[in-house]
Point group: C2
Chain length 215, copies 2
């Protein structure tokens, strides 16, 4: 069966994947852009349309795993848009007219709406469904390829708790946020089900990979 | 002035420095010995009297900083003994007749008692005092050498919050404990006052060092 993968999911030392006070102007709340600065200096980011030319070192190698072999993404309502987007019937997501997904994207929300076709191969579908049901739909759409879980922390925790995630790549950034949504809550003893590796890189971040143990 | 240093302070991925349910038989509660296994395989630990011969790689290099140049330690009541030790007037600490400190040790407690002289140069003094006052006493006893903060997390957080800590070495172990005493609480934006480095080693842990920025 195809794999379920998490990539480039950035957290603070204290485990927060977003700060407090998310809004349209501050998608990560008081964290600002600090959780993702490590990625902005990679060639991967440049190839996604980002500014600088970027390096091809370890940060790039990890970041570039994001896209290969992915046939669909599942994301939470909090990644799709800022709090309250559900009240705007014309809202098309925080990711611009040509979103960086280029596959079907399943948005988990308790207030689903009709699908939206965007430029570049991204189509948003809205689902009010359990993690297992959502994954079934995404797998069908992915047509044999892997499914990426886009975050945020809330939905990733739910999928991990149900044993649905094969590979997870977290990037720990050396800041302490103190407030926000924490990835670790409810994941006690995750080391029993995943092999965990840690690799620090010269940019100062530590890449944590979680590979599901063969059951 | 002499430095205030934290060494070999081990935490889980989710930041817990001890598990829940501490007792005489389980000084780290449900964490067991997992927070310190990385240290048991170092030459440093062997030289402290531990079993195996131990390696001299990066884990050893970090661990061995523990003792050099230290003239006194300050520890919290929770490191001195299990919950309730204060009710036993003859209690002499969880660290055996010849404790591994070999200097004056100041134990912070709201129920102080007379000093206890142990073998090997360790003398326990008991203090009900603010961090700054306790540090003043420890500095006098250290006679120009550095002061080590022994932990647990509760007392280290208090000293960091008051800006009293010059160097901090944490060791992040790839387990998620879920419960216990967390180091990060109240340390938001610690990156503004410390230069932070991360180094992962082949044993799977990540050494985090915090060096106070020149003010
Ligand atoms: N650090 C990173 O790398 C990273 C990556 C992605 C996102 N983020 C950030 O993380 C934040 C969002 O994360 P988050 O944890 O707050 O939220 P999230 O995981 O994106 O979304 C959670 C929300 O999705 C809906 N939902 C989740 N599961 C559902 C289900 N099974 N059925 C129906 N609806 C479901 C619910 O919203 P409703 O009840 O409102 O429908 C729920 O509150 C944003 O700030 C985003 O920028 C960070
Ligand atoms: N992970 C590691 O590397 C590491 C290192 C050291 C210890 N530990 C573990 O951590 C645990 C203990 O940590 P902890 O955070 O629970 O407690 P702790 O920091 O050792 O001690 C906190 C206690 O010390 C007393 N205290 C602290 N500041 C004081 C002050 N200014 N004046 C008077 N009393 C003061 C208070 O006890 P009273 O009110 O009872 O007097 C307070 O509850 C133990 O399980 C230990 O094994 C782990």
């Amino acid at each position: 069966m195809s794999d379920v993968r998490v990539h480039n999911f950035s957290i603070s030392l204290d485990g927060f994947a977003t700060g407090a006070g998310q809004s349209a102007d501050a998608p990560f709340g008081h964290a600002g852009e600090r959780l993702h600065e490590w990625m902005f200096t990679t060639r991967f980011w440049h190839e996604m349309g980002g500014g600088r030319e970027g390096g091809t070192g370890a940060d790039h190698a990890f970041a570039a795993m994001h896209s290969a072999g992915i046939g669909a993404e599942i994301m939470g309502a909090g990644k799709f848009g800022p709090p309250g987007w559900q009240d705007d019937p014309d809202y098309k997501g925080a990711w611009g007219p040509n979103p960086p997904f280029h596959t079907p994207v399943f948005v988990l929300t308790h207030r689903p709406r009709p699908s939206i076709e965007m430029e570049g191969g991204t189509t948003y579908h809205f689902l009010d469904a359990s993690p297992a049901e959502a994954l079934k739909k995404a797998r069908e759409a992915a047509d044999g390829k892997d499914v990426r879980l886009g975050g945020g922390a809330t939905m990733i925790r739910d999928f991990v708790a149900e044993g649905l995630v094969d590979h997870m790549h977290l990037v720990q950034v050396p800041i302490v946020l103190g407030r926000g949504v924490r990835i670790w809550d409810g994941l006690e003893a995750i080391e029993d089900v995943y092999d965990i590796e840690a690799v620090s890189t010269p940019s100062g971040v530590t890449h944590l990979t979680f590979t599901a143990k063969r059951r």
